[in-house]
Amino acid sequence: MAPVLEVSGLSTVFHTRRGLVRAVQDVSFSVNAGETLAIVGESGCGKTITALSLMRLIPMPPGEITSGSVKLDGQDLLKVDEATMRTLRGSKIAMIFQEPMTALNPLLTVGKQIAEMVMLHDKASSQVARKRAVEMLHHVRIPEPERRAREYPHQMSGGMRQRAMIAMALACRPKVLVADEPTTALDVTIQAQILDLIGDLQSEFGTAVVLITHDLGVVAETAQRVVVMYAGRKVEEAPVGEIFARPMHPYLRGLLNSIPHVNSARGVEVDEPVRLQEISGIVPALNDLPPGCAFSPRCSMSEERCTRERPPFELKADDHYAACWRA
């Protein structure tokens, strides 16, 4: 099966007064229909910028996608003109955001915000679009969808708004859903419900999902394949079982060690959200990266070569890639 989404060599930079910020460098991955790829990493490692690059929603200037390709069903999104891209956004590739409280327009009803998109992409009449909006709200298990469609975002809880966002994102049956930390801002109990919902709709519609998170528990529960990012680059990539069974990069090991419940692959208990900030030291500034391995200042296994030469991202075991001299 050919992957629906194929990203290769993606690099995105920001031209700032403090110099060139290399937010994403040479990132590649692919996702099949109906599958979930997780991108994990600490805050500030370039996950959101990667997601926005896929949607071509990077503010330019100051941002710039300097190289790479994002192929959706073989069509390179980075090559099409803006008008074509607009017809694809929302209809073929959709995104949900981290902050459900601010991601919806406070002055428009939720139903209208969904219907507006259906009218645009499916050339539907406003009645048809409204009906579809209500259907979608029903689909994401919002009770009394007719009434809720007429409500404004501030009348809904965070969890319900995120459901509404999902309803909106999936209203035109996109092939790819980019979910940027969809549960980070929500209560733990709601988090599980939202993830289940995404999973159910994904299998129903055959959507390929790029799930961005910094919660390894979420990864274990939902993803088939995992990409670990550090300082704008991929540092490890493998099927989810491999990742938990044989983590190679000291960064990923650090992350896993900071989780109390990880014993073996997949058997992760998610009693509480697991945050990844627990390795000592901080992420290096992306406008001033060290010459060798970006993780070397924080790495307990660091050796002389690590500070001099950047380790290549290469195959270390069967379908298991990492970028570390000592893996």
Binding site: M55, L57, R86, T87, L88, R89, G90, S91, A94, M95, F97, E99, T102, A103, L104, N105, P106, L107, L108, E116, M117, L120, H121, Y152, H154, Q155, M165, M168
Partner: protein
């Protein structure tokens, strides 16, 4: 919604009461009354005659009693008589109100019609040459006193047309009407439009950086739809509030402009009345202006409620 309006109306009454007390006291704190001025200007010196005028006008009564007379008269629809012309205040004010009202409405209209779109353009084209140009223009609008701008316009008219727009009760052509009202209105409205423009720009820039704008883009909406339907609707909220406040400032500009352009409206008339310490005239005019300002602000708040569901439903 209804309880909100009732509460606002009660608040209006309290505000107007406060205004009436303040203007009443201020007038009496300012040295000199009509009798003093008459005597100074006419060179009369007979103290008995002066005392008689003071007594006739009731200026020797205790202040609370004077105040009660004024307000009591108001409730009976009696605004009193002008000290200067000795005609009923209502007859003096009534014909002048439409003149000022037209000028003020036109000024406000200009400032909104110019301020909001230019603010949006400035924000959408942030840091372009156009943006810088508009920002300089609006800064000069804020820093230029309206009397000076009025004089500049007058000099400009005299230089290029050899004449200045003269007030005429029934102008013959549209252009005569335009020169007569639009030019003074533009002079008054320039400041407000500059303020509205700057506010629209900064509000728009803030909104354009918000998450829901990104969401709107992620749906594939056109840039025009995102800007005008999603962003502007939100950005205009603080601007609406400012428009309410600006109506109060507008009167300050009107006083000067009516004087410079020789327009017989209430604003210029007010200055004249203050000079003569024409208490009934000043008190009633100021109260009238206060009623207008407070009413406009109520209307503005109601518009705000219609636009913003968060306020509509919190009641």
């Amino acid at each position: 919604m209804l309880t909100y309006i009732i509460r606002r109306l009660l608040l209006m009454v309290v505000t107007l009461f406060g205004v009436s007390v303040v203007i009443f006291l201020l007038l009496r704190i300012v040295p000199g009354n009509i009798a003093d001025i008459l005597f100074d200007s006419a060179g009369l010196i007979d103290p008995a005659e002066k005392a008689k005028i003071v007594a006739d006008l009731g200026l020797d009564l205790p202040l609370p009693q004077q105040y009660a007379q004024w307000i009591g008269g108001l409730f009976r629809g009696d605004l009193g008589f002008s000290y200067v012309s000795e005609k009923p205040v209502l007859d003096e004010i009534a014909p002048r109100i439409p003149i000022t009202a037209r000028l003020a409405a036109l000024a406000l209209f200009f400032s909104i019609v110019a301020g909001v779109p230019l603010g949006v353009i400035s924000a959408v084209r942030q840091n372009s040459g156009l943006d810088y140009g508009l920002r300089v223009l609006s800064l000069s609008g804020l820093s230029m006193p309206s009397f000076w701008l009025g004089l500049l316009i007058l000099m400009f008219c005299v230089h290029f047309f050899g004449t200045i727009p003269i007030y005429d009760r029934a102008p013959e052509t549209f252009w005569a009407w335009f020169a007569m009202l639009a030019i003074p209105a533009a002079a008054v409205g320039f400041r407000s439009s500059a303020l509205i423009m700057r506010l629209t720009r900064s509000s728009m820039l803030e909104v354009l950086g918000q998450d829901f704008v990104r969401t709107a883009r992620s749906k594939g909406l056109s840039e025009a739809n995102v800007t005008y339907n999603h962003a502007l609707r939100n950005a205009v909220l603080p601007v609406i509030t400012t428009i309410g406040i600006e109506t109060a400032f507008l009167f300050g500009g009107l006083i000067v402009t009516e004087t410079v352009f020789n327009i017989p409206g209430v604003a210029r008339f007010l200055v004249e009345a203050i000079r003569w310490r024409d208490y009934p005239m000043v008190q009633n005019l100021v109260l009238f202006i206060a009623i207008i300002v407070v009413t406009v602000n109520l209307i503005v708040d109601l518009i705000y409620m219609v636009v913003d569901p968060r306020i509509r439903y919190s009641e």
